[in-house]
Amino acid sequence: MARMKFLCDSERCIECNGCVTACKNANETEWGIQRRRVVTIDDGEPNETSISVACMHCTDAPCMAVCPTDCFYQTDDGIVLHDKDLCIGCGYCLFACPFGAPQFPQEEAFGERGKMDKCTFCAGGPEEDPVRQKELYGANRIAEGKLPLCAEMCSTKALLAGDAQVVSDIFRERVVYRGHKDGAWSAVTPGEMSEEEMAVRAEAFATDASSPVIAKA
C-alpha cells in the first residue's frame, strides 16, 4: 500500500519559498496561515542549511494521539487529515506536533483559536461538496491523481512528495551521484516501505523529478 511522505533534500533547498506560495496557490489559506514554511538554520554562516517543513504526515501522528475530539484520521495512503467541523481549536495538536504544523487563524482570550489548519498533502478533507471542501481544506489534488503543489513546483526539486518507496528511491539515486547521503529530511521509516507503488501520479511525478533530471548519471 502506498504511504505518502514528504522528503526535503536540504542539499537542494535554497529557501526560495516556492513551496510556500505554491501552497497558497493551491489552498488559498488566509493571510497569516502558512501551512508550509522554510526554516534556515545557521543563517549567514558557513553551515547554512534550509529546509522546507509542513505536516510530515507521521505514521504514528502525535496530533492524532492527543486530539480530544478525535478529529484526525489517516487515509489509506497514510495522509493525516482532520475534520474542521469537529475541531474545537484547543491547540493540543500544536503542542504535540514536532514540526509546528498545526496553525490557528486566531489566538485570543478564552482559548479562542478558531479551527486548526494544516497541510493536507493536498488531499482536501472530509467534505463531499467540492466547493465547501475547497473552502475548508483547500485543494484535493490527490483525488485528481496529482501530488501536493508545493513539491510539484519546488524550484530545485528539493522537496519530494509521494509514496515513501518512490521518494526514497529518488533520494537514493541522488545519494549515489553525490557520494554522500546527507540532506534528507523526511518522516519515511523503514517499516513503511512497501512494494506497492502509489497510483499513476506518484509514478509520473517521480519520473518528472528524477528522470532525466537525476536519473542520468
Binding site: 542539499e11 537542494r12 535554497i14 529557501e15 526560495c16 519559498n17 516556492g18 513551496c19 510556500v20 506560495t21 505554491a22 497558497k24 496557490n25 488559498e28 488566509e30 493571510w31 497569516g32 502558512q34 534556515t40 543563517d43 549567514g44 554562516e45 558557513p46 547554512e48 542549511t49 534550509s50 478525535d70 484520521y73 489517516q74 475534520d83 467541523d85 469537529l86 472530509p126 467534505e127 463531499e128 461538496d129 467540492p130 466547493v131 465547501r132 475547497k134 473552502e135 496529482k146 503543489l149 510539484e152 513546483m153 519546488c154 524550484s155 530545485t156 526539486k157 541522488r174 551521484y177 553525490r178 509520473a204 511525478f205 518528472d208 532525466p212 533530471v213 537525476i214 542520468k216 548519471a217
Partner: protein, 953 residues
C-alpha cells in the same frame, strides 16, 4: 475509532452556486469590483487581510488550459494556467517545459494571484488638487496628448521622455521603440540601462553579442561555475535547479564571489568574500595565478583572442599582496579558486547586478569575459558567460531597442540605421527625420545622438538646460511599466518629479512614482494589462523566444500596452505611420503582424526566423525539447532548439534551428554553430583581428573572414547562389541590411557565419579603459588607494549630460559615512516590487524593509536585532528600516533589499495611493539612500557600492 467521511449535510440542496459562476460574479464575490473596492481601500496596512478570493469553483465547470510564461524573471518558466468561465482557477506545473520542468520560485508559484489583482489600479486616474479622480480613457488620452503637443511646440519632442519596460512583450517593446522614434525622440529607455547595460556593452565589445552565451540547461555540463555578484537562489531560483544538477551529477565546483554570504553561497563549494566594487582586481588576481602557472588555454588564445598580451601586462601588477590589499582576499584562497577553475574545465561564469551596477561596470564585465577567454571556456558546452538577465523580457526589450542609444537590433542611431528601419517600416526616411528636433547641440543632432538614459532622467529635468545636448529640459515623463524606486538618488528624484509639468504612469499598479512626490496635479495613472491579459512573445535570458497565450481578459478597465500605444499614436497623429503594415482590430494592433514586422528587420542578431507560426509550434510542443540540449527530437519542431535562441538566421522558411550556444564551432552554422563576430574591423595596427585556424564545422572558409556583404559574396564567387529576387534586394547591402535574407542564406549555405569570423578582443580601444582597470567607487572608504586607483575625470557630456567622477571621489565622505552600503534581491519580490508587494501570497512573507548589519557594527552602534534604524546615504537621503543583525554581511558593510516603496524618509505614503490600490506591504525605498555614480560607457547607476551611516532610530 476512525472517522470516515461524514455525510454532506448541507443546509440547502446540492449547492449549485459553483456551477456557472461567471467572471463578473466571481469578481463580485471576491470583493474586488467597485463595490468591494471601497471597503478594500479602508484596509490599512496594519489590518492586512487577504481579500477573500476563494476560487472554489466546481470541478464540473469546463477547464481551458493556457500555456504561458512566468513574468517575474528571465529564466522563462513555463506555466499551465487553467481557466474556468474566464476565471484563472488553477495553476499547474509544466513538467514538460524544457527550462523549469514544472519548478517555480515563490513568485512563479504565486502567479495565479495575478488573476485576482485586487490591488491593481482599476481605472484611469488623474491627480486634481491632491486628490485622485477617476477619468475615462478618452479624457485621459486627450488631456495627456494635448499637453504633449504643447510641450512639443514649445520645447521640441525631446522634452517628453518615454520610459519603456522590460515587462513588455517583444511586440510591445518593439512597438514602443518605434512609437518613440515616430514621435521624434531618442529619449526612450528601459530597465536594461540599470540592470545589464554594462554587460551588453562589455560583452558585445569583446566578442560580438551582448547576451548570455549558453543556456541554463547547458550548465548541466559545467565542471565549474563561478558566480560573481550573482545570487540565483534569490534572483533566479530555477536556475539553481540546473546549477545544482551540475554540482551533483557532473561534480561541478561551485564558487560564489560576493560581499554577502547569500543563499547561493550556502550551496557553494567555495565562498569568497570580496569588498564591494573590487571585481576587476579580483579577476586580475585570479588571472595572475593562471598566467603564473601557465594554466591559460594557449591554443584557444592564439586562435580566437586578440590583445591578451596587453591584459597580461596589467595582470602582472596584481600580485597576491596587492589583490589582498584591494579585495580583501588572501593569496591561498585566490590560488585555490584559480586552480579550481583551471582544473575543472569547461567552466562557466555567471554574473548579475553585483557586477554590473558600478561606475566600472563595463570594466567588470570585460574582465569576466577575459577570464573565460583565458581559460578557453568560450564557445563550448558547459562553458560560457552565462549572464542571467533580470526581468522576464529584459533581453527582448534590449534586443528590440527600447534604449536611448540604438534602434531595434543594436543598429545604433546612424543615418544608415534609420534608413534601414525606415525601409522595414515602409516609411519615408525624410518624414521620420522631420519628426525630430532639427537643432544641433554641441554639434550633434538629436536624431543621431544618444538620448538621455533612464538612469539620468532626473538630471534631464534638473540640470541647467544649457548644459544638456537638447533644446530644453525634460518637461513630461511617461513611466510605462517602470519602478522609479529602482533608481538611485531618491531625494533628487522627488525634486525632479515636482519640477515636471506632467507625469504619466502606465502600469498595472500605481507604483511608487504615484506617491513619492508632493505634487497636487499633473499626474495621470493609466491601468495597463499584465502579460496574462495579453499574448505575444518573450525572450528568456538564454535568448530563446517563447510564445504566451492570453490567460484572462483584461481586469477592470485596464488595456493592453499596444492598445494604449495605438490610442496615443492616434491622438498624437502618427497612428497611420506607426501601424502602416499592422492590422488593428478593436483598437488593438494585431500582435502577429508586429512579430512579422520585426522579423523583417532584425538581421543583426537573428530575430528574423522566429515567425509567430514557428513560435506557436514550439509553444505547443514543449515536451519534445530535450532537457539537456534544448533540441527537439521529432514532433513538429524536429531539430529546432527550443525558442530558436537568437541568432536564428535568415527567413522563417530557411528553418534555421536557432543558436543554443554562442560561438560554438563544434556545430555547423546551419545547425546552430558559430564563431566570434567580426565586429571591430579586420585589422588593427597591422595585426589581424580575424581568427586563426578556428571556424565552425563545415565552413568553406577555414579561417577568419570579415562579415558578409554583396561585395564579399561576389569576391568569393557565391553571388550567383542568390535567387534573382534576392540579388535585387542584396545589391549594395550587407548581411545586416539585406531584407531578403539572401546574403545570410548563402553564407550559411557555405558553412560560414554571416557576421564574419574574428577573434574576441581582450582590449577595447574605444572604451575609456582600453584594458579593464580597477578603479575605486566614487564613494569609497579606501582613500589610501586613490593614488593608484582613482576614477575618471569628469565628463562634459555623456548621453547628452555632464557626468561627474573625479569631483565626487575627491571629497572624503568616509569619515562621516564609514559603512559601505550595498543592495540586492529578495526572492519574494521583483524589481521595485509594486506588483509583488500587491500579491498577498508574497507580501505575507516579507512584511518589512530591513537592513542587514554585521553583529560587530551593530554592537558598536548600539543597534539591536529588529530595532528601528536610520540608514543615511552619503548624499543625505535617509531611510528608516528594521535592523537585521546577521553575519550574512561583513564588518563595515550594510545590505538593503531594493524592492520596497510607499515610504519616504520615514513617512508612510500609504494614504496617497488611489483608494484600494496601495500594496499590501510598503517600506522605505532602498534607493532613497543611494548616491550618484554612472558607468563611463553606458551610464549604469552605481547601486552596489556607496557609503552610509547607521544610527538607532
Amino acid at each position: 475509532m476512525k472517522l470516515t467521511k461524514k455525510k454532506y449535510a448541507s443546509s440547502g440542496k446540492a449547492d449549485s452556486k459553483g456551477l456557472g459562476l461567471s467572471r463578473r460574479s466571481f469578481l463580485k464575490n471576491t470583493g474586488i469590483t467597485t463595490g468591494g473596492l471601497a471597503a478594500a481601500g479602508f484596509m490599512g496596512n496594519s489590518m492586512i487581510r487577504q481579500a477573500e478570493a476563494k476560487t472554489a469553483l466546481s470541478p464540473d465547470v469546463p477547464k481551458e488550459v493556457k500555456r504561458t510564461i512566468c513574468s517575474h524573471c528571465s529564466v522563462g518558466c513555463g506555466v499551465y494556467a487553467e481557466v474556468q468561465n474566464g476565471v484563472w482557477t488553477h495553476q499547474e506545473p509544466a513538467f514538460d517545459h524544457p527550462f523549469n520542468r514544472g519548478a517555480h520560485c515563490a513568485k512563479g508559484a504565486s502567479l495565479r494571484e495575478h488573476g485576482h489583482g485586487e490591488r491593481r489600479l482599476k481605472y484611469p486616474m488623474k491627480l486634481v488638487n491632491g486628490k485622485w479622480q477617476k477619468v475615462s480613457w478618452e479624457t485621459a488620452i486627450d488631456e495627456i496628448g494635448d499637453k504633449m503637443q504643447q510641450i512639443r511646440q514649445e520645447s521640441g519632442p525631446d522634452s517628453v521622455y518615454w520610459l519603456g519596460s522590460a515587462k513588455h512583450s517583444n511586440e510591445q517593446a518593439y512597438l514602443f521603440r518605434k512609437f518613440a522614434s515616430l514621435w521624434g525622440t531618442n529619449n526612450v529607455d528601459h530597465q536594461a540601462r540599470i540592470c545589464h547595460s554594462t554587460t551588453v556593452s562589455g560583452v558585445a565589445n569583446t566578442w560580438g553579442y551582448g547576451a548570455m552565451t549558453n543556456s541554463f540547461n547547458d550548465m548541466h555540463n559545467c565542471k565549474s561555475v563561478i558566480l560573481i555578484g550573482s545570487n540565483p537562489s534569490e534572483a533566479h531560483p530555477v536556475a539553481m535547479q540546473h546549477i545544482l544538477l551540475a554540482k551533483e551529477r557532473n561534480k561541478a565546483k561551485i564558487i560564489v564571489v560576493d560581499p554577502r554570504f547569500t543563499r547561493t553561497a550556502a550551496k557553494a563549494n567555495e565562498y569568497v568574500r570580496i569588498r564591494p566594487g573590487t571585481d576587476v582586481a579580483y579577476v586580475w588576481g585570479l588571472l595572475w595565478h593562471i598566467f603564473e602557472n601557465g594554466w591559460e588555454d594557449k591554443e584557444f588564445i592564439r586562435q580566437r583572442v586578440y590583445g591578451m598580451d596587453e591584459v597580461r601586462t596589467e595582470v602582472a601588477k596584481w600580485v597576491p599582496s596587492e589583490v589582498e590589499n584591494v579585495t580583501g582576499v588572501g593569496e591561498a584562497q585566490m590560488r585555490k579558486v584559480a586552480k579550481m577553475l583551471a582544473t575543472n574545465r569547461p567552466g562557466s561564469i555567471v554574473w548579475c547586478m553585483g557586477g554590473t551596477q558600478h561606475t566600472t561596470g563595463s570594466n567588470n564585465t570585460r574582465a569576466y569575459c577575459i577570464l573565460m577567454l583565458a581559460l578557453g571556456n568560450m564557445g563550448v558546452s558547459g562553458g560560457g558567460a552565462n549572464i542571467f538577465r533580470g526581468h522576464d523580457n529584459v533581453q527582448g526589450a534590449t534586443d528590440l531597442g527600447v534604449l536611448s542609444h540604438t534602434l531595434p537590433g543594436y543598429y545604433g542611431l546612424s543615418a544608415g540605421a534609420w534608413k534601414h528601419w525606415a525601409s522595414v517600416w515602409d516609411l519615408d526616411y525624410e518624414w521620420i527625420k522631420g519628426r525630430f528636433d532639427q537643432g544641433k547641440y554641441r554639434g550633434k543632432q538629436p536624431m543621431n545622438n544618444n538620448g538621455i538614459p533612464v538612469s539620468r532622467w532626473v538630471d534631464g529635468v534638473l540640470e541647467n538646460k544649457d548644459r544638456i545636448e537638447q533644446k530644453d529640459n525634460l518637461r513630461a515623463m511617461v513611466y510605462w511599466g517602470h519602478a522609479v524606486n529602482s533608481q538611485t538618488r531618491g531625494v533628487e528624484m522627488k525634486k525632479a518629479m515636482e519640477k515636471l509639468e506632467m507625469m504619466v504612469i502606465v502600469d498595472p499598479y500605481p507604483t511608487h512614482a504615484a506617491v513619492m512626490h508632493d505634487r497636487t496635479d499633473g499626474v495621470y495613472l493609466l491601468p495597463a494589462c499584465t502579460q496574462f491579459e495579453s499574448y505575444g512573445s518573450v525572450t528568456a535570458s538564454n535568448r530563446s523566444i517563447q510564445w504566451r497565450d492570453k490567460v484572462i481578459e483584461p481586469l477592470f478597465e485596464s488595456k493592453t500596452d499596444h492598445e494604449i500605444m495605438y490610442r496615443f499614436a492616434k491622438k498624437l497623429g502618427f497612428a497611420d505611420q506607426l501601424l502602416k503594415n499592422i492590422k488593428v482590430v478593436n483598437n488593438e494592433p494585431v500582435i502577429e503582424d508586429i512579430t512579422r514586422e520585426f522579423n523583417r528587420g532584425m538581421w543583426t542578431i537573428g530575430y528574423t526566423a522566429q515567425s509567430p507560426e514557428r513560435l506557436k509550434e514550439h509553444q505547443k510542443n514543449w515536451h519534445t525539447f530535450d532537457f539537456e540540449t534544448l533540441k527537439a527530437e521529432g514532433g513538429a519542431a524536429d531539430g529546432d532548439f527550443y525558442g530558436m535562441p537568437w541568432p536564428c538566421w535568415g527567413t522563417p522558411e530557411m528553418k534555421h534551428p536557432g543558436t543554443p550556444l554562442l560561438y560554438d564551432t563544434s556545430k555547423p552554422v546551419a545547425e546552430g554553430g558559430l564563431n566570434f563576430r567580426a565586429r571591430f574591423g579586420v585589422e588593427r595596427d597591422g595585426v589581424s583581428l580575424l581568427s586563426e585556424d578556428s571556424f565552425p564545422v563545415g565552413a568553406e572558409i577555414q579561417d577568419g573572414h570579415p562579415e558578409f556583404s554583396d561585395k564579399l559574396l561576389k569576391q568569393l564567387g557565391w553571388w550567383n547562389d542568390l535567387t534573382p529576387a534576392e540579388k535585387t534586394s542584396a545589391e549594395g547591402k550587407n548581411w545586416k541590411t539585406d531584407l531578403s535574407g539572401g546574403i545570410q542564406r548563402v553564407a550559411i549555405k557555405h558553412g560560414c557565419a554571416p557576421f564574419g569570423n574574428a577573434k574576441a578582443r581582450a582590449i577595447v580601444w574605444t572604451f575609456p579603459d582600453k584594458v579593464p582597470r580597477h578603479r575605486e567607487p566614487l564613494y569609497t572608504p579606501r582613500r589610501d588607494l586613490l593614488d593608484k586607483y582613482a576614477t575618471w575625470k569628469d565628463s562634459e557630456s555623456m548621453y547628452r549630460l555632464p557626468t561627474l567622477y573625479e569631483s565626487i571621489q575627491k571629497q572624503d565622505f568616509s569619515k562621516e559615512y564609514p559603512i559601505i552600503l550595498t543592495s540586492g534581491r529578495l526572492v519574494e519580490y521583483e524589481g521595485g516590487g509594486e506588483e509583488t508587494r500587491s500579491n498577498p501570497w508574497l507580501a505575507e512573507l516579507q512584511q518589512e524593509m530591513f537592513a542587514e548589519i554585521n553583529p560587530y557594527d551593530a554592537n558598536n552602534l548600539n543597534v539591536r536585532d529588529e530595532a528601528d534604524i536610520w540608514v543615511e546615504g552619503a548624499e543625505g537621503g535617509r531611510i528608516k528600516v528594521k535592523a537585521m543583525v546577521t553575519r550574512r554581511v561583513d564588518r563595515g558593510v550594510v545590505f538593503i533589499p531594493f524592492h520596497f516603496g510607499g515610504k519616504f524618509q520615514g513617512k508612510d505614503l500609504t494614504d496617497k495611493y488611489p483608494q484600494g490600490s496601495a500594496p499590501y506591504v510598503v517600506g522605505e525605498a532602498a534607493n532613497t539612500a543611494t548616491t550618484y555614480g554612472y558607468d563611463s560607457v553606458t551610464q549604469m547607476q552605481e547601486t552596489k557600492v556607496t557609503l552610509c551611516k547607521v544610527t538607532p532610530a
